[in-house]
Symmetry: C2
Subunit: 318 residues, 2 copies
């Protein structure tokens, strides 16, 4: 597939990955609806395998490879949810996975990838070192590189989250998803465009990493330089493929500040009793920031993941 | 009802409270099952209204009153989940609620009760002061006192959580619930005795508040004196009614230490992405403490609530 995924591509992706993913629930909270002045339908990808929507794209990207390439395994560089997703999907499919990670990656993430039997290559944390190490790995192993988002099979996989949500909750007026590299947002845009063409689609982005906002405004990809935000899943820049889809289909990008993200995350923890990571709280923060956009609408919100680093929380509660 | 609730009483309670409660989901985690060496089915009362199973008993106790008494309202003294449950259930039923709370109660709990339009009477935090204030309130208002657990209508209401679990998950070998005052555990014992008589029923208790353990051992109610545990929902003592049921039906009480409770709570947060309060983690801690009891069994676990005081968590994660 080297064209923008079609509706049929998204449907095929969905059929292909079904045995490897959870169909996640859609939850609502009366209290949060009242506070937001609209009806929110949260697609809970925090309950997805590996705790994030990334499992969808990873599974689809690997399953879309020809058998001859699967035999050599897959590789990526990441210290986040994509690494875990590739490692887990590959392991479930009996495929080898090679993951390049910075030596500084949190022990808990390294262990998670190792638990899925992936082979880990450590390097220093510069992007240059990661890319160099990845090149070496690819040469040595003949594995296939799976980019975390600049890949139409990944995008078609991520699109299945919104496709499930649209299929389950009727008459949504708006969809909103966080934007980092843009894989989830571009997939959400496509599912909405094909399945719910009247709906508006918003991206939600931390103001400390607002490269998507700037890219859409200027019509050129602006890289994310020295991003600073608590939403650590949204530090990356748009790519050619994600930018191409988002600029065409997205209604707008709403930016929010870190304190607004923390408040939204805390509200979900407290009222819905579910754990979401800071990146996943960015869309709800955007809903609160721009109430006039969402008032009285039926809004589908992708809760992208639940991988909070609990080592950073003070556990001596008593 | 002044006899121990029968199966019919529990069924009636269930029918009566259905419009006022959520039917909570039952969740499992492959990873936690693997770690525990058994199959665990978590009944998620953290998703119940007011965030705890207490809503079941409160709703049943109020709905069981004659209309002439409902007209005068209900009262209780509590700073915890029972207060919120009585306030919310009364509000939903158009009944007045009077809640006696210590001045030292956390602001968030006071506000929650106030949000449900209950009338709050503050007193100092001694049990004596609470009881005296409650007596005054009862005299002034002619309201009916709803004890948090020494009340068969409360017990029949709490029993409906286990009844739903047993109805949904077939062939459970064991049920386990936390024990504080014993309302939830005695209700769990009754539902198991009537609906699943072959099953074992365990209570799980913090070792820093092990009055149930000592009471069962000695055959006499031992009050909980100066209890110290992170599981702040389990500080109270058994009562005549709960002790009578528990001593007859419970298989055993397993005690666990606070670090074991924190580890179990953290594991549920991290792997299941749901928020549970420390008291709700006590049964899972007990499963890990006594693996030989649970090995290869199908175990129903009541996750009693999710009201963690998030003010006590350090939110500056980045």
């Amino acid at each position: 597939m080297e064209n923008i995924p079609s509706l049929e591509d998204i449907h095929h992706a969905h059929q292909r990955i079904k045995p490897f993913i959870h169909r996640t629930p859609v939850l609502s909270s009366e209290m949060i609806n009242k506070k937001a002045g609209c009806s929110l339908f949260f697609k809970c990808e925090n309950f997805q395998k590996v705790g994030a929507f990334k499992m969808r794209g990873a599974a689809n990207a690997i399953l879309s490879l020809p058998a001859t390439r699967i035999a050599h395994g897959v590789a990526t560089h990441s210290s986040g949810n994509h690494a875990q997703a590739i490692a887990k999907a590959a392991s479930d499919m009996g495929c080898k996975a090679y993951i390049v990670m910075p030596e500084s990656a949190p022990r808990v993430k390294v262990n998670a990838v190792r638990d899925y039997k992936a082979e880990i290559y450590f390097c220093n944390s510069s992007l240059q070192a990661r890319e160099q190490t990845l090149r070496t790995v690819l040469q040595e192993t003949k594995a296939t590189f799976i980019h975390p988002y600049d890949n139409y099979d990944i995008i078609a996989g991520q699109a299945t989250a919104a496709a499930e949500l649209i299929g389950e909750i009727k008459d949504l007026d708006i969809l909103i998803a966080p934007v980092g590299g843009g894989g989830l947002l571009s997939g959400t845009c496509l599912s909405a465009a094909y399945m719910l063409p009247e709906a508006l689609v918003f991206g939600a982005e931390p103001s400390g990493a607002d490269d998507a906002r700037r890219s859409i405004d200027s019509g050129l990809i602006h890289p994310s330089i020295d991003p600073k935000t608590i939403a650590d899943g949204l530090l990356t820049s748009l790519s050619e493929r994600t930018f191409g889809i988002i600029r065409r289909y997205v209604t707008n990008i709403i930016t929010v500040d870190d304190p607004e993200i923390v408040d939204a995350m805390r509200l979900v923890w407290e009222r819905m009793k579910i754990l979401i990571e800071p990146s996943a709280a960015v869309p709800l923060a955007a809903v609160f920031k721009r109430p006039e956009v969402f008032r009285d609408k039926r809004v589908g919100v992708i809760l992208s993941g639940g991988n909070v680093d609990l080592d950073k929380i003070q556990w001596a509660i008593s």
